[in-house]
Symmetry: C2
Subunit: 327 residues, 2 copies
Amino acid sequence: MPTIKDVARRAGVSLGTASRVLSGGGNTSPKARSQVQAAAAELNYIANGPARSLRSTRTNVLGLLVSDIRNPFFSEIAHAAEREAMRLGYTVLLANANEDETQADEYLRIFASQRIDGLLLAPQGPASPQLESMLKSGLPVVLLNRLVEGLDAPSFATDNSQGVGLVLDWLQTRGHRDVAFVGGPNSISTGAERMAAYRAGRESHGINTDDAFIDAGDFLADGAERAMMRILERGKRPTAVFGANGPTTLGALRALRWVLGASEASRVEVVSFDDLEWFEFVSPAISAVRHDAAAIGTAGVTGLLELIAGQPVASQRISTTFIDRSV
Amino acid sequence: MPTIKDVARRAGVSLGTASRVLSGGGNTSPKARSQVQAAAAELNYIANGPARSLRSTRTNVLGLLVSDIRNPFFSEIAHAAEREAMRLGYTVLLANANEDETQADEYLRIFASQRIDGLLLAPQGPASPQLESMLKSGLPVVLLNRLVEGLDAPSFATDNSQGVGLVLDWLQTRGHRDVAFVGGPNSISTGAERMAAYRAGRESHGINTDDAFIDAGDFLADGAERAMMRILERGKRPTAVFGANGPTTLGALRALRWVLGASEASRVEVVSFDDLEWFEFVSPAISAVRHDAAAIGTAGVTGLLELIAGQPVASQRISTTFIDRSV
DNA sequence: CCGACGACTGGAAACGTTTCCAAATGGGAA
DNA sequence: TTCCCATTTGGAAACGTTTCCAGTCGTCGG
């Protein structure tokens, strides 16, 4: 594999000049530029990233830690973030925490070892010591979608209470009183915020405030299915079900069909925080709060790069829209 | 940030000894080991990856190039691959080609620059010059799910003709004659293979061989929707529709509902190559070929590491199962 | 008791860049 | 012409590791 030395020799310039041309910086004459570029192209030279990173202490790599890439919401974020990063000359190292703190920490160590320039974090639960120490060491970090208590990094997150408000309004106009709410873990800010907003808004929207209609899972389908089962086992028969994220709605739907049977289940209206592409095909169609995952990913990268550049960055709340699929 | 020098000094050994302890190789005394490890822990030392890579010419990073991470099939592959790689001490650099060859090439360059140890490839279409040159330079590569003509790398792929066979059998027992087939691009091996297997099997399974019932999209929902529209515009009224991958089935479903209306559309049975989690909720429920994305991802990583270790690796065809959701 | 061999260690070179510094070159003003 | 300044250049140091090479030390066999 050709090195910059080969390029320099072939271009008839010194190693330093070749470097200045290829890495963009410094003053170079047009003549040197063209010669070096020609030589590089002829040799099919590709700079050695590790060497470059070692010397310059910048890697042009961003770390992205999500809880589960299989959740469409996160894959959308990842996709948008990667695209934006690429556009700005950065690469994204993706890690799946799998809702598991140990694994998240392991990835953080790998990120640290790779000397990433910045970190995009869609964390679960509280800040780990590993994360704390990376923050303290000055690594630029932004939070995506979730907040972390006592971690002062700019965040780019959905406006949960606004979104829940849209659902509450809709429930009211549809005349629902007995509504089941299947939430997420209280340890995750999105879970806590959505739950809190829902509970706070029930009464003013004419919704039964019996807490037996409420249960929480783990934001995954299986856990949500169990949560929905528990509500039904308590003898509650809701006319509407509100799932607090995509996988949760899926799990709730499964439980409904399983316990009540398909025809009975189809008399229950389902509404979801997170809009999935297939909601239109379910009968009755599922209405949903749509939040803009792509916007979160893009804004997160933009913000992180500003942070890296040393500029101050303000947190953003990204507001949602409601997709009403009721007849 | 502490370097290995700091660790060595604190442990009271030479730099060489510290390195031997921390990187596992070489002969070291128990005493040296414990001292160095203690010092490293106290200083919270994390090795500088780029420096390590520069010197050792290994990065412990694998590149994974998929066409679209938002496709659940690929996000499942990515998840499994990442998990397996992590287990074996490797990190995965993920790239989205977006079904766009230019972008794929750009990522390949980035991979080359990062000096990845190996490449997992779920490519679109033919091999690009960039890919060719990387292969020629000796980079270990395995193919996931798709094959590439004239690229002799081991592949780990779904057995498409076996899967299509399952669908054909099912169509026959359900008594369908007028079946619409919505395929994918002919330039992608999966698209071509599924289409070929379907056409070849029609006659023997009592299916109308009129090619007006067949059209192809781009393996994305929008393109498939248009393809299905074209079939319907030709005046064809199938009793069953076969979508050649997940997004394709989604698009076909949209077109059906759009053109025929919901009630009429619900008289058409839909069957899919790729099983999605929501197929059970559609009415009538969608039956599907399920292929094991996780197995592909895991096997791909295992195979790639064998390749890196210089062992011979054999291609695998991974067979599918059929999920029959008809009443 | 001596020699040889093994385990272990310290020191230094090397990996491929970027970046600093000093020197060279050129052009314009006096 | 001479001087000065700005631009460009070559050379060398440095980044943090791994790995090679000699050498030291202790041990064991003869």
